[in-house]
């Protein structure tokens, strides 16, 4: 038999894909249970209104309707939806509105019927008397005196104000020879995962056990929170996340429908399913971003940036979801980016408004930070008439400065920012491109070149960094079993929703035991099968979950080496795993088939001193620090001055996520990430009108980039391993989104430089650009 290759570092194709692209995977909506009922939710059409009465009588009398409930019917039978992140004002968050509605889409009543169509029809028969109240929509006006209050009990719309100033900030700002002040808007976005949310609850009366299928990123954390809300023991709740069609952070949450379906199934002793519609998804699944930021930057005439001061207004929406007030923290802390900037001071105002809550969305706080600093660097370059690449080089944290402590105390593990920029500039042919840009300008063509050099924070991290109220920390878990037939089963506490760890974790395990990647099965997302785990978010899966797999593998290796040592009569430390054998490291021809060792462990006919039967090991990995991936993106655009349309001509991305387990999957993450970041730069924007009505409530009005709007990517990597984990990996799930948005915006602004335009807020729609050009022409004439 041919020798088996090593799998780590190989472009192994995703083992998930055949079932997904042939429609043979199982999503929540594919699961059909006998006697299953269907729920539909009546939602508030008002952004802010008093509920005078809810009349469910007509809905209840509708043929096929089994049950209809309002917030008053639920009362305290279901606890408040959780927010685990600390904040000064945390409102009660009922699963169905009580007394008042606070955003368009807030659940007001729920109907359960024999089929989803009847449930939906019955929603129209519910009569709610609303007394409309003035809505507060603008994040800055929300803090003015006299603004309508989202939660009267607090007497303010301020959730929390946080102020952080690094030691020596004043001195650093005083050393600046020049300063610039500007305002940036990081607009609200709708995550738009392909599969909307989906819940199926089944209470088995005889067993007093609840099984809940949910399209979630966090089955275990969800189980813990549901146990609290429903007052059930955790070992009587089984949460299963089957195939999950994307989440982007919006499924890192606990939603009303999860608790409601569970409660209804317990009341009715029948399974209850709820599948979110796209319109519901856009109105009532958490949004992302939504910051208004006032920036002041101090710098010297040579381009050295000495200090950054920022004042944030962060729109939290009407309620605080699981991590809502924690997300902006990353923005403030990461605001100095990959630069050695001596002083950082920021004030963050987190604000209630009559809108859907914001929470984690791909990048969660770091895209906002990167946009802030990367736009700032370009503003400084424009002000000084310097090349933006030079300003970056001037300020990079040098490669020999790692581990580097930022002015606000973050510990960067490793980095080589200049190498990534050099490689990206070489790939794009930067000098030549600048000449071509100048040539084109003479012909009246507006070419723009945009750079973005980012650093972000992944694999968070030591548990102490996570919110104290979160049940579970920054660690991750894995169990590995070698079955009697010598096949390897990996149980991971992470919960993929498109990331492909059935492939990457199989690669790690296959290399550990010297077996084929197809000998490994990876199981996830079922709390009755998998040991407690934390989940998949924050680009943590490979760095934390992958390390846990490696640690569990090492424990099993030790045990198997002991058995082999006993059988081969050589010391265990001289043994290695290779090609489905355990062999002598110095002479691999002296080996014993892995199968024989497995048989000895399970058969146990000859007891091995100091070794228990079976082959099962489990590990919990608590990281000592966070990882900080980085990279350099270059975007080349052409702006049509007649129409304002932006065409992306080239996109080069060099990303460094430490060691790479599977380059194919890294490329996939970067491609999807860039597409999403480009979406924010050019197209996407969640809009509420002045009355708090959601205007972008369907995919007709919310512009997600289509394949034709996304350029071909030229991708490469540099590899700077981290010492934080034994795999040397950093994380890559969000990097593309973080790096791309400022690269695209910087390119467009660069193209508009001849018009004297220094900044435009996203999304850079043709209309906005066209208007800016017309205005600039007027100004030039005048």
């Amino acid at each position: 038999m041919a020798a088996l290759p090593k799998f780590i570092g190989e472009r192994v194709r995703r083992r998930e894909d055949p079932r997904l692209i042939t429609g043979t995977g199982t999503y929540v909506d594919d699961i059909k249970l006998p006697g299953m009922l269907h729920a539909a939710v009546m939602r508030s059409p008002y952004a802010h209104a008093k509920i005078n009465s809810v009349d469910l009588s007509r809905a209840r009398n509708h043929p096929g309707v089994i049950m209809a409930l309002s917030g008053e019917d639920i009362g305290d039978k279901i606890g408040s939806l959780p927010c685990v992140a600390p904040a000064q004002h945390v409102p009660v968050h009922p699963v169905l509105a009580r007394g008042k509605v606070r955003f368009v889409g807030e659940p007001v009543a729920i109907v359960v019927a024999e089929n989803p169509y009847v449930a939906r029809d019955a929603i129209d028969l519910i009569n709610v008397e609303f007394d409309p109240l003035p809505a507060v929509v603008d994040v800055e006006k929300a803090l003015e005196s006299g603004a309508p209050l989202v939660h009267e009990e607090f007497g303010t719309n301020l959730v929390t104000r946080a102020e952080v100033t690094s030691p020596g900030f004043e001195k650093a700002m005083a050393e600046a020879q020049r300063t610039l002040k500007f305002r940036l808007i990081n607009q609200r976005l709708t995550p738009t995962m392909m599969e909307p949310r989906a819940v199926l609850a089944n209470w088995e009366r005889g067993y007093k056990q609840l099984t809940l299928w949910s399209s979630t990123q966090i089955p275990h954390l969800l189980r813990s929170q549901l146990a609290d809300m429903l007052k059930l023991p955790e070992n009587k709740i089984r949460v299963i996340a089957p195939e999950v069609g994307g989440g982007f952070g919006a499924k890192l949450n606990v939603y009303p429908e999860e608790a409601l379906c569970a409660y209804l199934s317990m009341e009715l002793n029948r399974p209850v399913k709820w599948i979110e519609t796209r319109r519901e998804n856009m109105a009532a699944t958490t949004h992302g971003r939504d910051h208004v930021t006032y920036v002041e930057v101090g710098f010297k005439n040579d381009g050295t940036i000495t200090a950054i001061k920022a004042k944030f207004f962060c729109d939290m929406g009407a309620y605080l979801h699981l991590l809502t007030p924690a997300i902006p923290g990353f923005t403030g802390l990461m605001a100095t980016g990959c630069y050695k900037i001596a002083g950082l001071s920021f004030e963050q105002n987190l604000v209630f408004t009559n809108k859907m809550a914001t929470d984690a969305y791909r990048g969660a706080g770091r895209p906002e930070a990167t946009y802030l600093i990367e736009r700032t660097v370009d503003m400084v370059a424009a002000e000084l008439g310097m090349d933006p690449a030079e300003v970056r080089r001037k300020n990079f944290i040098p490669k020999d400065a790692f581990p580097y402590t930022t002015p606000v105390g973050l510990q960067f593990d490793s980095g080589n920012y200049e190498a990534a920029l050099d490689k990206a500039l070489e790939m794009v042919g930067y000098q030549k491109l600048r000449q071509e840009q100048a040539e084109a300008a003479k012909k009246g063509r507006y070419i723009g070149i945009g750079l973005s050099t980012y650093v972000e924070i992944c694999g968070i991290g030591p548990s102490a960094l996570l919110p104290p109220k979160l049940k579970g920390g920054g660690w991750e878990s894995a169990t590995i079993r070698i079955e009697p037939d010598c096949k390897v089963t990996v149980l991971t506490g992470t919960s993929p929703h498109g990331q492909g760890e059935e492939t990457t974790f199989a690669q790690i395990a296959a290399d550990a035991f010297g077996v084929d990647v197809d000998d490994v099965t990876v199981i996830h997302g079922d709390t009755a099968v998998v040991q407690y785990g934390i989940g998949t978010f924050g680009s943590r899966t490979t760095a934390l979950g992958g390390t846990a797999v490696l640690m569990a593998a090492q424990k099993l290796q030790d045990k198997m080496k002991k058995i082999a040592s006993h059988m081969m009569e050589v010391p265990p430390e001289q043994l290695i795993f290779t090609n489905r054998t355990i062999a002598l490291a110095s002479d691999p021809s002296k080996s014993i088939p892995l199968q024989k060792v497995v048989e000895a462990a399970y058969g146990y006919k000859q007891p091995i001193p100091g070794v228990e039967p079976g082959l099962d090991a489990n590990a919990f990995y608590e990281p000592s620090g966070c990882t900080f991936p980085f990279g350099a993106h270059v975007c080349v655009v052409e702006v049509d001055p007649e129409t304002g349309v932006v065409k992306v001509l080239r996109y080069v991305a060099v990303d460094d996520c430490g060691k790479i387990i599977n380059p194919l999957l890294v490329d996939g993450q970067i491609q999807g990430g860039i597409a999403q970041g480009l979406g924010q730069a050019l197209y996407e924007e969640t809009v509420y009108d002045e009355n708090g009505q959601l205007v972008t409530a369907s995919l007709m009005d919310y512009a997600v980039p289509k394949a034709t709007m996304v350029p071909r990517f030229e991708l490469a990597n540099t590899v700077t391993p981290t010492h934080i984990n034994p795999l040397g990996v950093k994380g890559v799930g969000e990097a593309g989104t973080i790096g791309s948005t400022p690269a695209v915006v910087n390119a467009v602004i660069d193209a508009l430089k001849p018009f004297g335009i220094r900044h435009l807020d996203m999304p850079l729609k043709p209309e906005k650009i066209w208007r800016a050009i017309q205005q600039a022409k007027q100004t030039m004439k005048g």
């Binding site: 929603i123 609303f130 109105a283 009355n691 369907s698």
Partner: protein
């Protein structure tokens, strides 16, 4: 949603004013009116069926007339809701006499719309509102012409839609509505 425009009706101002102040006749002319009740001389309740894009629904509501200045002006408040959303706001109507026994109707309004009808149909709301107004004016014009002859015009959704189209096409050629 803000909406405004003007339409010419083929009758003297007094007759138009009379029509515009006769709720029972108006109810026949407004497309989709299903139920109509008079609460007081200036206040009416009723239901109206409206479809915008994929969102079709029945809305019940209240209409109140204020600032009535015969024979030239009034302000009208509306407040309606249905399973597909709500609408609240006001409109103004102004009648200006024209030559040849015609009357120019100037109208404007500011209506707040919410709920699914807004979320799905907002791009089409204005168009639908304009079309409904167009159908109403076509029906009103037919009604006024018929009553001048001492007859009563036939009314119906299809018929008024047809009248609306004819007026629209005619306006394309004459450059006026």
């Amino acid at each position: 949603m803000k909406i405004s425009g003007e339409q010419t009706l083929s009758a003297p101002r007094e007759q138009v004013w009379e029509l515009f102040n006769d709720p029972n006749r108006l109810a026949r002319l407004i497309p989709g009116v299903e139920k109509f009740e008079t609460v007081s001389p200036d206040e009416f309740t009723g239901t109206i069926s409206v479809g915008v894009a994929a969102v079709k629904g029945v809305y019940s509501g209240r209409v109140k007339i204020e600032e009535r200045r015969a024979p030239e002006y009034y302000k009208i408040f509306i407040d309606g809701k249905g399973a597909q959303g709500f609408m609240r706001g006001y409109g103004t109507v102004e009648l200006v006499p024209k030559d040849h026994n015609q009357t120019l109707v100037k109208y404007s309004g500011d209506v707040q719309v919410g709920g699914p009808i807004m979320q799905v149909g907002q791009r089409m709301l204005e168009g639908v509102a304009k079309m409904m107004l167009g159908q109403f004016f076509a029906a009103a014009d037919a009604e006024l012409k018929a009553s001048a002859k001492g007859t009563v015009a036939r009314q119906g959704i299809l018929l008024n839609f047809w009248r609306y189209l004819v007026r629209l096409i005619r306006s394309l050629f004459t450059g006026r509505q």
